[in-house]
Symmetry: C2
Subunit: 451 residues, 2 copies
């Protein structure tokens, strides 16, 4: 765990750590597919043009070039048509949807669990290569709001299935926030959102100053915008709190009402299906991202310093192709950061470092074939088994299994009698390779939560 890696920002796990990661990845896939999300993968590279087309990109991009071409062409990398590594799964997915629209059925649900790369300064918990697990629902022309609810429910269930303890899915709605600012009489709602987004970093007083200078807010408007951002409820009582703030306002409240109704439905439904996980948090802004309605963030209770472990939201237009637009809603789990914390905090560990449940010992060098026969009988019944490569002393062979956490060692004597030893208890009993089966708990390496 305290190992340092040879390239900072790039995590590599030891076998037992990898088992924890695999368990988390397998669990995510299972929950996503349980809800009808199809698995997809996109290529690692995009054209630089695709990656930059959303305009301002605050992610550090890794460019990619063929070394031999570079050497041949005097080391001057071309600017056009260049390739670069994806920095998230959303931009590639949007491109994929446009390219394959004719082959997909909408609304289209997909999960995508892949590595992404960002050339940022590696800090505690920041990786240059990390796995993101995304789910999105994308429509053709339209996508009912309840897709936003579905995404929240699925991700809350997925996170609930992981060995990470308590978390809070903090949800807001940009229509609510922007509708509120409009109702307040503030026209540059983007400037207000950006100001509010800094709340956690710079505090309410400096945000108020910021709102006055960049968004032209009065004291009263700034005060109310800040008051809105301070609303945080685990049920739908935020609705009354917002109404109290808007009493007597004369501006247009249509957008505000739409956002309020959406967030109310979302919080009620998630609260009902995955109790105690959803929080209406009206401070959530999601910075520069181009969300148009629901926005999600997630904090791990007791590990708030990790930042949001899972974020996303609704795009009115995730992608477009001529006049055709594809609205979408999605969310993304930062898996590597989560795995790293689970490992460093020892929130979960693997019961052993290898898949084998049984280590078949060798009595003599000539016995390897017979030992493989035993192992094959076990394997044919779904029991993972490894055969010793050398007929060392039994003590050494047992130690070999013990070091890996393999629970059982199999012995066959000269007459072909079989015995299996549970090396934890030391108990050794006669066994038949055609029928003997370990306890369910010993079949596969398990991930044990220490919470």
């Amino acid at each position: 765990m305290a190992r340092s890696t040879s390239l900072s920002g790039f995590a590599e796990w030891l076998p037992a750590e990898r088992l924890v990661e695999l368990h988390m990845l397998d669990t995510l896939r299972e929950v996503f597919e349980r809800h009808g999300f199809s698995s997809l993968e996109s290529r690692a590279v995009e054209t630089l043009e695709t990656l930059l087309q959303k305009g301002e990109v605050d992610k550090e991009i890794y460019a990619v070039s063929r070394l031999q071409e570079e050497l041949a062409e005097d080391a001057a990398p071309k600017k056009d048509g260049r390739l670069a590594l994806r920095f998230d799964n959303t931009v590639p997915f949007a491109r994929y949807v446009v390219e394959n629209a004719g082959h997909l059925n909408f609304p289209f649900r997909r999960h995508q669990i892949q590595k992404v790369w960002r050339g940022e300064r590696p800090q505690d918990g920041r990786y240059r290569e990390f796995t993101q697990a995304d789910i999105d629902v994308v429509g053709d022309g339209e996508l009912p709001f309840r897709a936003d609810v579905e995404i929240a429910v699925v991700i809350a269930q997925a996170l609930d299935s992981m060995p990470i303890g308590e978390f809070h899915l903090r949800i807001n709605n940009r229509k609510l926030a922007q509708g509120f600012y409009t109702a307040l009489g503030l026209e540059d709602t983007t400037a207000v959102l950006r100001g509010i987004d800094k709340l956690e970093k710079i505090g309410p007083e400096r945000v108020a100053e910021d709102l006055k200078t960049t968004a032209g807010a009065t004291d009263e408007q700034a005060r109310k915008a800040l008051a809105l951002a301070q609303i945080r409820t685990e049920d739908t009582s935020f609705v009354d709190q917002v109404r109290a703030l808007t009493e007597g306002l004369t501006g247009d409240t249509a957008l505000l009402e739409e956002g309020l109704a959406e967030l109310e439905e979302l919080i009620a439904e998630v609260g009902k299906r995955v109790p105690g996980r959803a929080v209406a948090d009206l401070s959530i802004a999601r910075g520069l991202d181009y969300y148009t309605g629901t926005v999600y963030e997630t904090v791990l209770v007791g590990h708030e310093n990790l930042g949001s472990i899972c974020s996303g939201g609704r795009y009115e237009s995730l992608a477009s192709k001529g006049r055709r637009t594809f609205p979408g809603v999605g969310i993304s789990i930062g898996v590597t950061r989560l795995v790293a914390r689970v490992l460093s905090s020892e929130m979960a560990t693997a019961t052993r470092s290898v898949p084998a449940a049984v280590y078949v010992a060798l009595r003599t060098e000539e016995d390897w074939g017979a030992a493989q026969d035993v192992a094959d009988q076990l394997r044919s019944r779904g029991i993972n088994a490894e055969v010793a490569l050398k007929a060392e002393k039994f003590g050494r062979q047992i130690r070999h299994a013990d070091r890996r956490g393999i629970p059982f060692v199999w012995f066959t004597d000269e007459e072909g009698n079989h015995e299996v030893k549970d090396i934890r208890s030391g108990e050794q009993t006669a066994a038949d390779p055609a029928t003997w089966t370990p306890a369910d708990d010993d079949m596969l390496p398990r991930i044990v939560e220490s919470v």
Copy 2:
């Protein structure tokens, strides 16, 4: 299938195609773990130095650089400490073993199923990004020969579990070949190997010329070297054929005998455990790769134009750390090339394009919560279920399920009575969400082989 991708050399699958790939990847993982191989992943990037340290590298490398750094530093990419994408899983694994030797237990079995990148000209069946599935066994200081046998058996079983039809694992041993050349009196055995490696490309006559000019062979030596390369048997009868060629030779035959004994054991054991798959093929040389004993190649019968779909061999020193050496033996399946052929030849298809077995229809917009309750009851029993996002006409909702191949549509009437329709037969029956279960074959999308 005939879709063209937007970036040549980079495959991206549609959901139903991805299911075929996933099935193949899941099967590989299962077989590998059944035999005790641990899952590992390495980072996508290596230093250029690591990638080039084996000397001559015939793979086109993709270099990686931080775009912002590049722009800041006047577009001159640095030569030192540069990063590049891995082109196989072996070089990164060797580096990983050296870095983590203190944390690993040897002999160490691992599987690694990851994307690799090569900037080669994309041709038919050649990809710039593709998945390789590797297994290796690596020892500390020593590694018994039977690890070579184990690798062949495991990979033959793995390939046997895939929907790819017949294949031949063609196996040779460099000790046998080099020992034979030495016994013949040819000293530059590497030059002979390189000549023989061209056999399939340029034919025996030009190889004979090549051997005479580059390896100083006489007519008789060239003839015998070529005769050795023409030996190909599905059993151990190659041993007698080699002995017939070596009769009367006076050179040192120690290495030849060692190689003969190894290959004989290997062919016998694989033939016994996975009948009809192993072929002793004394023409296999594996070109520039640094193998020191067993070498493996695999051809798909009827798809020989794919080239080798699975190759590898034994390294006396996969890696080293000071005086400590780590011998290894391993093999790698080119998964993407194989998946592409399975798809284009329709060797296997998915029974549906989405994970859901049940599509829960909406009678009215207000029913969404109740429909999710039904779906949750199904999901809690392991049945993948999707809920309609809109209360469209039932005909449209059924069509929605039909297009995705979802076999069942669930209806709940005003009184809360449930019915489920098998949309293939049209049969509709009363059903209880707490107990109804689809047939086993309909639970998950299945991969159906058309062979």
